[in-house]
Symmetry: C2
Subunit: 267 residues, 2 copies
Amino acid sequence: MATCGWARAVRGLLLDVSGVLYDSGADGGVPIAGSAEAVRRIKASGLKLQLCTNETQATRENFVRKLRALGFDISVAEVTAPAPAACRLLKERGLRPHLLVHDDLVPEFAEVDKTNPNCVVLGDAAENFTYANLNEAFRLLIGMEKPVLISLGKGRYYKETDGLKLDVGAYMKALEYACDVQAEVVGKPAKKFLESALAELGVPAEQAIMIGDDIVSDVGGAQQCGMRALQVRTGKYRPSDENHPEVKPDAYVNNLAEAVDIILQHL
Amino acid sequence: MATCGWARAVRGLLLDVSGVLYDSGADGGVPIAGSAEAVRRIKASGLKLQLCTNETQATRENFVRKLRALGFDISVAEVTAPAPAACRLLKERGLRPHLLVHDDLVPEFAEVDKTNPNCVVLGDAAENFTYANLNEAFRLLIGMEKPVLISLGKGRYYKETDGLKLDVGAYMKALEYACDVQAEVVGKPAKKFLESALAELGVPAEQAIMIGDDIVSDVGGAQQCGMRALQVRTGKYRPSDENHPEVKPDAYVNNLAEAVDIILQHL
C-alpha cells in the first residue's frame, strides 16, 4: 500500500458536488463512476461528511432530490450552499435584495423583504443572464449611494454535459467593473462560508479534507482555512491546473473513489 | 472675457460623439442643444476637426448617415472608429476573428477571413450579449492554446435615451476573468488608437484638444497622448467624476457649445 502522509488523522470530509459526485447538465446530469459507492463507503466508515457546493440553480431541497435520483444517499442537512448563508447575511444587515438568480433559486429568498432594494444578489442565473436583466441590475447598483453587490460564489466557469458555461464570477466581474465596486462573495472560496461548512461538518480544520475539482474555490479556499485539500481529475479539472501559480493541492487523485480508497486505508 | 489658459494655441479638436454631439438611443437619439451649430462654427473657423468614437453599433457609413440626419455636417473621413482599426490589426497579425458584435457592425469585417477563428473580437453587441453568445465566445477562447481577445473599447457604461446600459468593457472583464487573459483594447483610451485619430486630425498633440463626456476613455486617454482634454457636463457625465482619483481634465465645460465659444475667443 502506498503511504500517503496527507491521508492521516482524518475525521471528516467536505465534498464539492458538481464535477466530484456528478457532471451537471440540462438533462439532470450523470453520476461520475464510483462516486455514489464512495459516498456510501464514507458513511459506513464513520467519517463525517458534508457537501459544500456553490450550486445556486436550485433550492437545497430540489438539489438533494436530484442527487438522490442520481443514486447519492444525501439529506438536506448534509448540504452547505450559498443561498441560505446569503439569507442570514441579508437579515443580519437589514438588506433588501434585488435578485439576479436562477428561477429555481427564488424560493430560498421567500422570507426576505425584497421591496425597494438596497443591494443586488447575484447567483448563477444561467438563462436569466440576459442583456435586459444585467442592465437592470447594473442600473439599480449605479443608482445606490453606496452600491452593495453580493455574489453567490465567484467561479469562472463550470462544465455541463453539453460543454463549459460561464459561471457567476464572470458576471460579478462585469458588474464590479461597471459600478467600480467590489462584490461580497458568499460561497467558496470565501473563508466565512467554508468555516460555516466546517462547523456543520463538526470536526476541526486539521482533521478535515476538502475534495473538489476547482483549484481555486475548493482547494485554495479550504487550504486557507487550515484544511487539507485534494483536487480530483474529474469535472472541470484541466491538466494546466497542475501548474497553478498560487495553489498546490495536498494531492491529486483521479476521482472521488480513489481518494476514498486511500483515506479509508489510513483510518 | 474670461482668460482660459487651456484654450490657447489650438489648431485642431478631437470630439467624442455620443454624449457630446447627441444622446444615443433606440429611437435614433437626440442632438444635444447647440452641438450641431458648434460643429459648424468649428469648421468655419478653420480649426481642424476629427470625431473619435468608440461607437461599434454601426458601420461608419451608417453612423455618419445618422449624424447627418440629426443635423451634423460630418463626412466618413472625419470619423475615427474602432472597427476599421481592428480590421487593420487583424490583417497585420493574420488573425481570424469570431465576432461578438452588433449585427449592424458585421459589414465592417466583410473583407476579413473569419473561418476557423483564432481570436475573439468583442464589440458593444447590445441585444447580441445573450447567455448563449457569451458562452460561445468563452468556449472558443478557453479552447485556444493562447487565447486572444480583442475588445473594441473598454467603456463601463453609456447613456441612452431610455437609461444607462452596460458597455463592452463590462463584458470584456467577464471574459478576461473566465479565461484568465488580458484583452487588447482597440478604441479609446488605448494610446495607439488615439494616436491614429490624432494622425487623421493632422495636428501635433500639443495643439489639439479632446472634448468628451468620459473621464477615463476620453479625458484620461487624450492626456496620456499629450493632448489637453475637456470634460463636458452632458451625456454620461456624473458630478462624482469631478472627484476622480486619477484623472483631472484641463477644464470642465457645460457642453460642447460652451467649449467652442471659449476656444474660438482665443484663436
